[in-house]
Amino acid sequence: MATTLGWIILALPLLGCLALALFPRHGEPPKGPVIAIGVGSILIAFVLSAVVFASMLAEDPSERLHVDSLYEWIDIGGVSVDLAIRIDTLSMMMMLIITGVGFLIHLYSVEYMDHDRDYRRFFAEMNFFVFSMLLLVMAENFVFLIVGWGFVGIASYLLIGYYYQQADAVRSAKKAFVMNVIGDVGMVLAAFLLVRELGTLDYSEVFARAGELGPESGTALAVCLLLFVGAAAKSGQMPLHSWLPDAMTGPTPVSALIHAATMVTAGVYLIVRCYTLFDLSSLAGDTVAVVGMVTLFLAATVALMQVDIKRVLAWSTVSQIGYMVMAAGLGLYASAMFHLMTHAFFKATLFLAAGAVIHALGGEQSLDRMGGLRRHLRVAYFAMGAGCLAIAGFPGFSGFFSKDEILAYSLAAGTLGTIGYVVGTVAALLTAIYMFRLLFRAFFGPDPDGGYAHAPHPSRWWMAVPLSILAVLAVVGGWIQVPFGWHLIDDWLAPALVGAPEISPSHTQEVVSLIIGSIVAVAGIAIAWYLFGADRERRLRLAGVAAGPRRVLEDGYELDEIYDEALIGTTRDLGDALTRDFEPKGAGGIISAPVAIVRGSARVLRAAESGLVRTYAFALIAGVGAAGIVIVLAVVR
């Protein structure tokens, strides 16, 4: 039954997308049906996911794995690929997050997108995204994983470029697409390697026979690193992260759903899903962990300097996914998934609260033109506050438990883990500072100079209700897994992570990590209050200090400029040189030589074609005569 419902869950958003996209053929339909189809399809999918979840809860843990094949899609050369879904505890968790958070964000969008012309296009594309993301997590083989992977890429491209009249939105969309394709290439190559080595792409068989690749073998390393190229591109890990901050040109609900809560965490899901492969190669795991560490630290420093409210959140997303990737690289798969879940809650809350601010201010996104919003937007203020406390890891809030779990477990994961703990703790301090900088600058203090051009108006219930629900989840979501208490996430994921290395910290490590984590969070908030909250002039007085390094941070270490110079510039120069020097002489010469030969010989031969019958007759007779003379001479001799 679980798989039947699974197919329905997968089909609903697709049907919603098709219905919205195809009917009516012309003109904009009334908003009522669009809302009913667009939001309803996701609501039903969520309810059905909850039903499947309940039925799985009733099962024995060892039986929580359902695979169903609809039909055989390809059978070539011994490799067969089925259109099949897999519902195990890992994909179940992802389905609940995708449909649950997805539904709340769809509901929020009803009001947020109210002023936009292309209402149904928005919901059609959002439904398509949910379908693609479900396909990605429910696939039973690498082929449909890659199909879903590509689909979420195109959905992300469409929604980043939603405001296609704006040049920078189109540019960002292209950038995101190109960088994601780099990742797709890595994934496809990994799949090819698996086919060559194991002759199958089904998860069950690949993971059961992964040992044939050989522990610490070059093949296992290559497969893992290629998969990680895909994961890094999708999850905004350095050096493939720079599309994610630019992706903020899309509407805010899109940023919340795709570029914070679900799609960008697909890379983490992929690593956890393929843990069997990553366990084969410790070098691959270490690489993943180091990339995660670098990303989480650098992104946190960049987030400190951003002025655009959404870019602060985008860089914070890059940083938080860095935590998950580091955890996955260290082998802390359940901790990574736990942080993925709480991150989905609090980052969606933060984005939706930011969206409420942007909506209330008529599109204003700069922190420089915000202030004192606490008095105008109560719901957004409380939600933002809850989200900030959660992401900063304030004791008792969701991020506290999940981030602490990653850090405490890192301590037990060898030398690299200890380095990860230090980097992660410093970045946690930065996280608290940059998030509360945002909160204090936008919501505290006086109104900005000259007041608001667009008087802030509080949101209606369409936006307020989902925001409040997510804020509550951001506060309490962490209590699902409490140190020294209960480990519901670990227990739930255990059947999907059979054979993963058991890493657990000692009591001392756990306690030390909890205490340091609490101190860091409180200290970060206090520093932010000192710099940005208590005395608003202090920030301006400090503005002249270290202006150069600050500008580098504002530009995200100027990586975009480096890419422009190194990759785009070089390619363009090469193309120019080929056009100028090679194409006219080289390629042109090869083509024009035969042309000249044919032309020249034709010019000579055409003289024979006079069109005069008598000339032809004469030539004929002369020819026959000549031939006759030759024969006669030959016979005579």
């Binding site: 003289a607 024979a608 074609e609 005069l612 019958v613 007759a617």
Partner: protein, 102 residues
């Protein structure tokens, strides 16, 4: 072997062929051109029949009949072209009819 000697046949055939050949090369009216071509074909027939009698083999006579059939077919096409050209009020002069010049 009685009757006309072979040399007479060959002589007549050669004369007819030369007359036809000169006609083809000199005449500019397509109608006369066709006549000249017919003359050449029939010179070949005379030679065939002559050889047929000389060797006492009927194959040559059958060849002559086949040549006549081919000649008839050729004349039908040639005269058709001449009539078609004439109805277009184009001058009947093979030197002027040179549209197919390369």
């Amino acid at each position: 072997m009685t009757g006309v000697p072979l040399a007479f046949y060959i002589g007549l055939s050669a004369a007819m062929f030369l007359i036809g050949m000169l006609g083809v090369m000199i005449r500019r009216n397509p109608l006369l051109l066709l006549l000249a071509v017919e003359l050449m074909l029939n010179s070949a027939n005379v030679a065939l029949v002559g050889f047929s009698r000389h060797w006492d083999d009927s194959a040559g006579q059958i060849f002559a009949l086949v040549v006549m059939v081919v000649a008839a077919a050729e004349v039908v096409i040639g005269l058709g072209l001449v009539v078609a050209t004439f109805r277009q009020r184009i001058e009947l002069d093979v030197d002027q009819l040179s549209t197919l010049k390369g």
